[in-house]
């Protein structure tokens, strides 16, 4: 099994996460949750149907998020990234482009 793990490339890992719900914490403390749609070498991430939470989601107060729609987070503002493991969505079709 360990052998299979090693043969999964970085790209494939990223591909598996496409269209899944992703949570990103930004340098200013805000948390964004949305659908992982796109990324690049500089770790810039585009999230779809994105919601913005001012407080960390673990805090007690229930917060109404601000709806952003399509949002791009510059790589250098990302503190941490999480994937929703319960999300079983698979990518529609994979495509890798050089822009």
């Amino acid at each position: 099994q360990q052998k299979t793990e090693e043969t999964v490339t970085g790209k494939q890992k990223l591909q598996r996460w496409l269209n899944k719900r992703m949570k990103i914490c930004m340098t200013d403390g805000r948390t964004l949750i949305g659908i992982f749609l796109c990324t690049d070498r500089d770790k810039n991430v585009i999230l779809g149907s994105c919601e913005e939470y001012l407080k960390p989601p673990e805090s007690e107060e229930k917060e109404e998020p601000r709806i952003l729609g399509l949002a791009m987070i510059p790589g250098h503002h990302i503190v941490n990234i999480s994937i929703d493991e319960h999300d079983k969505t698979v990518p529609y079709n994979l495509d890798m482009e050089v822009s």
Partner: protein, 717 residues
């Protein structure tokens, strides 16, 4: 989005299990090449373009630097914190709250969002918990007012994104209270205030008590406001009735006059209410009074670049309301209007006064309510028939003609008029939009009108065929066709003149624009009106002669009741004005006072074709292509060629003729009077030029549009 934003379910589903993949992600992305994008095939660059960039202050409204540091409290939180009072509210407080809300209402009507205007008033978020009766009644009434305004403007649909934002963000607007209940509540508090007024009145012979006087004045200010908003809401409800023009006008008149009076009393008391403290306004955080929180709805706003709304001044707001009331008076003149042409003219005149979106919507819906009948009562077709009868008296619409009862003829006519309903409604709608947007819409309607005109010609031919068999002395040529052509030409003219209003044309374009108006559009309009007028004359008389025989000799000198002479004179006058401008421009060019542009890639043909592009879709009149224009305006056709002085001279005659024609129009309105003065001034200027005035000057002449946006005064320097 409408109702669900505020109550949206958080996607923080309890079923989410978040696994931190930060390190894996960082490592994985370093596998990508520089410039390589990783994405699903259904996601492209086009979609990526519209993403807002986080941490960029211009796009990210949620960023710290765009956020205000202080705490933003809701209505309930503010009450608990003692910042907002729902009981023991002083008169000054109430006056301030009412007037501030009014300012927010006006700001909303000017095109801002409800979230950043009216709903910055926390009292409106939950009026039912307000204990102060006056404030409670007012808050509920204001919600109902906002709701009905929003509904009417939405239904009328004569707004664009810059005019009005209809979104209500899911705010509840006292839906569970009926109109009657709301008005009842307002009347109750009004009466209570009236009692206080009576008891604080200085009785004759009594000593003046300053404190009592002050209380009286403050109560009076409050009383007039409550009464105003009660009557304003009543008016809006009345205007929303389908048959208001047929049944409700006397009441509308009464309400408008009362409202006007009340506004006059409110205006001088604007300073009575509490005012916001003087402090610097920063990024949407402007100073306000108790009960208002500018940032309360920030989270509800769509994720665009940060938008800051400045609430209008109270003094200016009351002026806006005053003008709104005055504009609404237009509805009271509707019952007298029974002709479509008069209606269209009235709409166009109204549009020139730049009424606000609410006034425009009210007028639209008063004339064409949801049941799609004029004034809620007459079918558009009946209205059209009456108008066409008065315009050109087609035999097919005359009860005295055999065609009227011919079933085949009736079918043709009905089909044609049915086809005409939509363009006619469109014409009325176009004039209801804000003026800047009308030009595009005029261009858009040309094709439909042109098709209708073709159809009308065909119907005329068919009707003519039937008619000559039974009444060989009469004809039915170009009747309906002429009527549709009239509207087609008007649309083309409105389109062209809008270019001046919008200041689209450069000075070096004036020559072909004025030429097109003079030689083509108005020439056709004048001849169309003449044809209609002549037909009217013939057929009115024909209808009479078919009756009594002997009395005819006495009737020969009977005065014509139906005539288009006023329209003809006006059209001819305008034509002469444009002729004057065109000829003056030719003269200026001959005198080298006007230079032709010579920037790289400039091509006059391209500019010309662009300006008159929409006319290509019109069959009658046929568009004049650039090459034809050059040919027709070529001075070399004249032997010997005219000099600049010759051109100034003919221009002078045009302006003189225009002036004479304007003077012949009975009871001229303000605009016609202004045009008379402009014609006179230009006549004098051209006369001076004929005499050699400023002959040597090569300074280009100025076109002064300060008196009229379409007809300038020519100034030679």
């Amino acid at each position: 989005m409408e109702t669900s934003i505020k109550d949206s379910q958080s996607t923080l589903k309890s079923s989410s299990v978040w696994k931190d993949v930060t390190d894996d992600f960082m490592l994985a992305t370093s596998d990508l090449q520089l410039g390589e994008l990783l994405h699903d095939s259904s996601f492209g660059l086009f979609e990526a373009m519209s993403a807002i960039e986080m941490m960029d202050s211009k796009m990210d409204a949620g960023m710290m630097c765009n956020q205000i540091k202080r705490k933003v409290l809701t209505f309930e939180q503010s009450i608990e914190a003692g910042r907002v009072k729902i009981t023991d509210v002083s008169c000054e407080d109430k006056l301030g709250i009412i007037d501030s809300t009014m300012a927010c209402l006006v700001t909303w009507l000017e095109g801002h969002s409800l979230a950043q205007t009216v709903f910055t008033n926390l009292y409106l978020h939950n009026p039912y918990i307000i204990e102060d009766r006056v404030l409670k009644a007012f808050s509920i009434c204001m919600l109902k007012i906002v709701d009905i305004i929003r509904m009417r403007i939405n239904i009328a649909s004569v707004f664009e994104e810059e005019d009005f934002q209809p979104m209500s963000y899911g705010f509840k607007m006292a839906f569970d209270l009926t109109e009657t209940r709301c008005l009842g509540m307002m009347k109750e508090v009004e009466e209570e205030l009236n009692k206080t007024l009576r008891s604080t009145r200085t009785k004759p012979g009594e000593e003046r008590n300053e404190a009592l006087e002050k209380e009286h004045n403050l109560t009076l200010a409050l009383y007039t406001r409550i009464k105003f908003y009660r009557l304003f809401y009543s008016l809006l409800v009345l205007l929303a009735k389908e048959k208001v023009v047929i049944e409700g006008i006397p009441q509308v008149i009464k309400l408008l006059s009362q409202l006007d009076e009340l506004i006059q009393s409110i205006q001088p008391t604007i300073q009575y209410g509490i005012q916001p403290s003087e402090r610097e306004a920063t990024k949407n955080d402007y100073p306000t009074i108790m009960g208002f929180e500018p940032l309360i709805n920030q989270r509800l706003l769509p994720p665009t670049f940060p938008r800051y709304t400045v609430i209008k001044d109270r003094d200016e707001s009351i002026v806006y309301i005053k003008q709104l009331i005055q504009h609404l008076n237009i509805v009271t003149s509707l019952p007298d209007v029974i002709s479509l042409h008069t209606l269209i003219d009235m709409f166009i005149e109204f549009s020139k006064s730049s009424p606000c979106v609410l006034a425009r919507s009210v007028l639209q819906l008063a004339v064409l309510p949801q049941n799609r009948r004029i004034y809620g009562s007459h079918t558009v077709i009946d209205f059209m028939k009456e108008t066409i009868r008065n315009f050109i008296a087609p035999p097919a619409l005359s009860t005295k003609c055999s065609l009227y009862n011919n079933s085949q003829a009736k079918d043709y006519v009905d089909a044609l008029l049915n086809q005409g309903v939509r363009p006619i409604r469109n014409i009325l709608e176009i004039t209801g939009h804000n003026r800047a947007r009308q030009r595009d819409k005029w261009a858009h309607i040309l094709e439909e009108l042109s098709n209708l005109q073709e159809e009308a010609d065909k119907v005329d031919a068919l009707l003519h065929g039937i008619l000559v068999k039974t009444e060989p002395s009469r004809n039915h040529l170009a009747c309906f066709g002429t009527w549709v052509l009239y509207h087609s030409l008007q649309a083309m003219i409105h389109y062209t003149l809008a270019g001046f209003e919008l200041e689209l044309y450069a000075t070096y374009e004036y020559h072909y624009v004025y030429w097109y108006l003079y030689e083509l559009l108005f020439a056709w309009l004048v001849s169309t009106l003449h044809r209609a007028d002549n037909f009217l004359l013939e057929n009115d008389m024909a209808a009479d002669t078919s009756q009594k025989g002997r009395s005819n000799k006495k009737n020969k000198k009977k005065k014509r009741t139906k005539t288009l002479s006023k329209e003809i004179n006006l059209a001819q006058a305008q034509q002469q004005m444009f002729g004057g401008y065109y000829k003056a421009l030719v003269g200026f060019r001959l005198d080298n006072k006007l230079t032709v542009p010579s920037f790289e890639f400039d091509c006059e043909e391209v500019r010309y074709s662009h300006r008159f592009g929409p006319f290509v879709n019109v069959i009658t009149p046929p568009v004049v292509y650039y090459s034809q224009y050059k040919e027709m305006s070529d001075l070399r056709r004249y032997e010997p060629g005219p000099t600049a002085i010759d051109m100034y001279d003919v221009s002078c005659k045009c302006f003189h003729q225009a002036k004479t024609l304007f003077e012949s129009i009975p009871s001229p309105n303000e605009e016609v009077q202004s045009l008379m003065r402009i014609a006179k001034t230009n006549f004098v200027v051209m006369k001076l030029l004929v005499g050699g005035h400023k002959k040597e000057s090569l300074v280009p002449p100025e076109f002064d549009f300060s008196q009229h946006r379409v007809y300038p005064i020519i100034k030679v320097i």
